[in-house]
Structure formats: C-alpha cells, structure tokens
Symmetry: C2
C-alpha cells in the first residue's frame, strides 16, 4: 500500500471538509462564549479543534475495527463529557451563600 499521488485530491478534500466543520463548531461555541458559557481554558477556536479531533478520531477508530465498536454509544459520552468540561461553571452555591450572608448580616 503506497500513499501515491492519486490520493492527494482525497486528502485535500478531507482537509477542506474538516476545516468547514471546525468553523461550524467554532461559530456555535463562540455564541456560547458570548453568553459567558465557555470556561476560559480553551478559546472557541481551540475548543472547536478539540471537538473535531474527538469526533473524527472516534469515527476513525470505528472504521478501523468494523463490527467491534458501536459508534454512537462510544462517542456520545466522550463528546457530552467534553462539552461539560469546557462549559463555564454554573451559578455557585457558595457565592450565593456569601451574598445571602452579607445581605442578612449574619
């Protein structure tokens, strides 16, 4: 198996498709960031790139082991956990308690 010249257009098309999907992810994540819902650890660009690598890598593993893995069941927990990881923390009970304590003067 050689990686010959005739594969170049395929590789180029794949890179273009990857970039388009990454841009789509980035625009959605940037919307979340504008609403303060993205944790500061990753920029929308890096978060989109990470998400693309997780999805593409899962598909590639699935293609390499046909019949062994169930794509959706294996990928969804990974993607859901990643999205939760990059989300800004929800309202903190501790902060609410502090505000309440200050308000009540206790």
């Amino acid at each position: 198996c050689e990686y010959s010249e005739d594969m170049l257009p395929v590789v180029t098309r794949q890179r273009e498709a990857d970039l388009a999907l990454q841009k789509l992810f980035e625009s959605v994540i940037a919307l979340a960031a504008n609403r303060g819902r993205l944790a500061p650890a990753l920029s929308p660009e890096l978060a989109a790139r990470a998400l693309l690598l997780l999805v593409n890598g899962s598909v590639l593993d699935w293609l390499r082991a046909p019949g062994e893995l169930e794509l959706t069941a294996r990928t969804m927990p990974l993607v859901a956990g990643f999205l939760e990881s990059i989300s800004a923390p929800k309202a903190q009970p501790a902060a609410d308690q502090a505000r309440l304590a200050l308000f009540l003067g206790v």
Copy 2:
C-alpha cells in the same frame, strides 16, 4: 492506493500502541482523580481516551500537511487547555468569603 491485507499487522500494532498509551494516560489521570483534582464530567477512562485522540489527531494533521504546521506549538495549547478543562475547580474565593463572613459574623 488500496488498503490491502499486508497493512493489517500495521493497523493491529498501531491499535495496540494506542491502547497502551491510553492506559498510561488513564493511570496518571486516575491518580489525579484520587486526589480530587479531576472534574466529574469525564471518567479517567474517557479523559484518557479524549487525550489520546487529541494527541494522535494532532500528529495525523501534522503528517498530512508536512512543513505547514509546527507540531509542538500547535498541540501544546490544545493539550494544556484540555487538561485545565478537566481539572476540578481550584479553591473558590467565593466560598472562602462565605466562610470568612460567617466567621466574622458580618
């Protein structure tokens, strides 16, 4: 270019190497989890798998575009940001303030 029989041992070796690296990542992340330093969104197993996909995907992109990308400069911010994302939040100033407010009775 055909993906012929003679490539199968290579694919098998690659999968074994991937699994070994994922297990190594998982053991280190599990140590962090035991110390309460892993956020609950991803288990050590899923976090290790995500980390492997990020690293392998970055290398693959770099191999596909030789000379265009600088591997380390492109991968490190992604990996560092991911590790920060999956870390348990540090001590919260708001919680400290709440404790202080309660202690001082203000």
